[in-house]
């Protein structure tokens, strides 16, 4: 009897469809389409001589973070120097600068310290939308700059 009731109940549940996401959220998701670079994987760091272990304990995560940042920037189109745009717009008068930061995505990478202790790197991709306006000259320059933020996090904090 109970099994039959459960089956009927299961059919009722299947009639319900998950609600459509809010339109603004769907638009945000659509805009966050993943671009062509895969999640970096980091191999184990080779253990150094003992006397260097203490120093490398701190240098290793920094080096890995630098490698991640370099790999990510290599995949980005060449940026135009904002200073150049600024100079073009500012022979005279006052510049107004607006910076709009948009979080595009986040991902994690994991490495091991020489002592075997795992460290997680929380990586966030941002797009900085920089707009420079010179109202006196009527010039407006807009520049979109991708940026990668890498923060090492010890596993014990999780």
């Amino acid at each position: 009897m109970n099994e039959r009731e459960d089956e009927l109940f299961e059919l009722e549940l299947l009639r319900l469809k998950p609600a459509e996401p809010p339109a603004d959220f769907l638009a945000r998701l659509t805009a966050a389409r993943p671009m062509a670079h895969s999640l970096p994987t980091i191999g184990q760091i080779t253990a150094p001589p003992d006397r260097w272990q203490l120093l490398l304990r701190w240098l290793a995560p920094a080096a890995v973070a630098a490698v991640i940042a370099a790999a990510w920037f290599a995949g980005q189109p060449g940026p135009v120097s904002p200073a150049t745009s600024l100079q073009a717009a500012s022979p005279s008068g006052t510049n107004q600068v607006e910076i709009d930061r948009q979080l595009v995505s986040t991902f994690d990478a994991v490495a091991e310290l020489p002592g075997g202790e795992p460290v997680r790197f929380r990586c966030r991709e941002w797009v900085d939308d920089v707009t420079v306006r010179n109202t006196k000259q009527g010039v407006e320059v807009e520049q979109r700059e991708p940026r990668l933020e890498v923060v090492p996090i010890r596993f014990e904090t999780y």
Binding site: K17, E20, L26, M35, L39, F107
Partner: protein
């Protein structure tokens, strides 16, 4: 070779699957904003992990979403004064016609009171469209346990829904 999905593929995939991801995330998060952030992080990470431009399998997305939710819950638990109880759903979890409106409300209410170990299995099976084997992978439990939790969860949900209706 371009390993990014085309805008059309990406949009179509989101339209097909975002509702089920958001439903699962709403059960895990303490606010609608957190649920939406979890979905965004998980789908981007799962596509990246897939790495070849093809859509990631649904169990991978659900597993990523669950891990991110656990990370978020742990970090939030450290903050004093945060709400302890599960979020009372403010958003509608389901779309339903007029004739199913009462059913929708009772199920949403009952689901929010169902123990999490049952709720996640029932949600993944009914609305996530996963098999017990896939659910087992997502939740890191044996497939038999997933099937057993599903049966118990369904019975418990039915009781809770009946209580709401009477």
């Amino acid at each position: 070779m371009d390993e990014s999905p085309t805008q059309a593929d990406w949009r179509r995939w989101l339209e097909d699957h975002a509702p089920r991801f958001l439903l699962f995330a709403r059960h895990k998060a303490r606010s609608e904003a957190d649920a939406q952030d979890l979905v965004q992080e998980a789908v981007i990470e799962a596509w990246r992990r897939q790495g070849d431009g093809s859509p990631p399998p649904l169990p991978l997305v659900f597993a990523t979403l669950r891990r991110r939710a656990i990370d978020l819950a742990r970090s939030e638990d450290r903050r004093a004064g945060r709400e302890q109880a599960a979020m009372e759903p403010a958003e509608s979890w389901f779309d339903a016609g007029v004739e199913d409106r009462e059913l929708k409300q009772s199920i949403q209410h009952a689901l929010s009171r169902l123990p999490e170990r049952y709720r996640e299995v029932v949600t993944l099976k009914i609305w996530g469209g996963l098999t017990f084997a896939a659910i087992a992978d997502v939740l890191e439990i044996p497939a038999n346990t997933a099937a057993s939790r599903y049966r118990h969860g369904l019975a418990e949900l039915r009781k809770l829904a009946k209580t709401v209706l009477t």
